[in-house]
Amino acid sequence: MNKLKYLGKRLLMSVPVVWLGASMTWFIIFMGPVDPASRLLSEGQTRNPAAYEAAQIQLGLNQPPLQHYLDWMSNLAVFDLGQTWLLYQGSNVNALILDFLPRTLWLGFWSVLIAVFVGVPLGFYAGMRSNTASDYVASMGGIVWRAMPNFWLAIMLLTVLGSAYTLAAGDFFALNFDWQTIGPNLDSISGSPDLSRLDTVDGFLAATKKVLPAAIVLGSASMGNEMRIGRTAVLEVRNEDYIDLAKAKGVSKRALVWKHILRNALVPLVPIITSEAFLLIGGSVLVETVFGINGIGNLFYQAAIQGDLPLVGTLMYVFILMIVGINLIQDLLYTLIDPRVGLEGS
């Protein structure tokens, strides 16, 4: 009944989830078949017992496992994330994250925006005109789009944007399309966006344009899904009695669509939109790699293949926090949109 109480309960439930997730991560990294210490050292150094021991001590692996576990968890809880071993050797992990994370967040922000503001209206459009040609085209498009591997789409998009095109109609006019120069100038079409000048119009536009292709790719998968579910939601709501009653009351067609149908169709979309956010976090690795964006997903991947396992564990913890946080935002949104929430609890 009380929305605050419901939110409080959800918040409380998140704590064991984070704890379990972090524990599983610790188990995989430090109790797994690979020895994190030996992974950190190069080939030559592994045979050097002194170097090996030093690495072990630095990692805290000479302690009994339980002690190590407690230390590690308490460090994470206060965000004392230590230093890196191999990647950008010796840098403070906190600083590294603060440097890399904003780029991923910027990418994620635009991906969600695109997915929602393109996918949902398309879905509503298809739902309102269901079983017509435009519905079929839109739905088919959404389905195929959703089946494309996003890293492949990224490659294709990069190729398309990398060349300049000319649309000419004889001598009358010629339209030049060069992604690099349209709007704000980009020195290269791939690479990290420069987020230092977001407060200026020019800086904002440049950073947006830089990340737009990647955001389109990342958002495209969710877009297809949101379209499909938006369409279904609209179809369902349209058939409800209260829509008929509103029509019988004489509500105008526009108000019927915007006030009654769409507002209700949004309700089932909220969990989808936010659950897509999880996938964005995972998929960002691939997209960041193709587009050369130095975000936190790329960092994770680099750490993994280079063997900096402690960093991998720490980053996973950050991801867990992000996802649980998104879950909570989803619950918050849900309570705002649907007044029935809070009654049954979950």
Partner: protein, 477 residues
Amino acid sequence: MARAHETTSGTLLPTNSPAAVWAAIGAVLFAAQGGAFFGFVVGVLGDLLTVTPLPGAAFVTAVEAAVEQIPTLLSRDVIPNDGYWNGSRWVGTFLGLPPGLAWGIRAALVYLYAFVFAGWVILGYRLYRREYRTADWTPRDDMVDRFRGHKWGIFGLVVVFMFVVMAVFAPVLGPTTVDENMRNSYSNEITYWDSDAEAVQTTLVGEANLASQSRGDNPERVLPMEYDDFGRFHPFGTLPSGQDLFTFIVSGSRLSLVIGLLSVGLSAGIAASLALVAAYYKGRTDLGLVLASDSVMAMPQLLLLIMLTTVLSGTWLAEIYSGGFVLALIFAGTGWTYMWRSLRGPALQVAERQWIDAAQSFGQRPLTIMRKHMLPYITGYLLIYGSMTLGGAIISIAGLSYLGLGIAPPTPEWGRAINLGQDYVATGSWHISLIPGLLITLVVTGFNALGDGVRDAIDPQSDATTEDGAAGRGGGA
């Protein structure tokens, strides 16, 4: 109530039993290709077992060799395509046709056989339903009929079927074999017509590959449906290493399918058991499972995959099937959560039914209740979410191999082909990245369509607003 003697259709042969005709057709079909079927099964088993210290490994290899001796109709020996031009005609190809045509015939025949086989199965089902089954009608009939009219679902089924055929018949479908073209290219020779010397020459396959590389706009590049300088036909062109892309793709499809099936099967098993247990016991068991699955889901699947593959690489587990086995395990371990979430709803609904209470009241054992009274009601949903998860798994596997993780190079996998070709997309060698990507899109669309079709057949009023949004996405790829 066998009505075998009053069948509604006549038969061509002088027997009165359609079942006998059907069985005879089946025997013919099976005899023609039995060797290939056995080869597939034994081959997969062998791959899985060769690295384990189990004693069966040597035995399996011996069986594999023996199976290969079984004559089959549609094999490389009967319809060969790797002959050569000797100045006046083609030698060593099927009917003296150009290799491209011979390959095309063989591939077409393989698919023809597959569809005939499928038709035979369907015919058998219809025969059974019409003549031999005691019940006049079961609820499943309605589902099957609804599926039959569902164009989108049928499309999905056809695409999936063709993909499975590609995987099963991979050794026969390619213009050459993985062994000859890729793994042992310097131990195999080919004969070809050297137009400069106007004579028949031989060379190592590896050397021939080096001269057929597709790297951008270089003149030696081989585009789809072209011959290279050595008289070899490449339906999909060649890779930057000169290897045949089509053979790469079909053998990669086998890997994707097997790993996909394995992981989805395991996932489904875990998810279904947990869903039934949680729905039956409810209360704290359910809560605990929700907690556990939330925790696993709190770790992004792709990242978890990367983490686990890195951690487990170099172990004996990762040797099996070129890393495919451990991949399947990891997939199952991380993917069960989405399926479980999707099955939880239907399972809880079934648990509310009164026949469950009735069974409990007369002392039926919990396991039996779950198996007999609850499981049949969620198998439909298992099919739906299973097929969608399979599509997602294929994308994830491709994504991982694109990154160089998961399947160890040089084993063929579709994602790796995309990686190998990514620098050349804007050039004359555009085919290397484009074709595998298109194929992935097609196959995944097929799986999703199949899932949609099954869902509409099982419950025409259901909708898509459940958690399957996550199930069909492969964790982020």
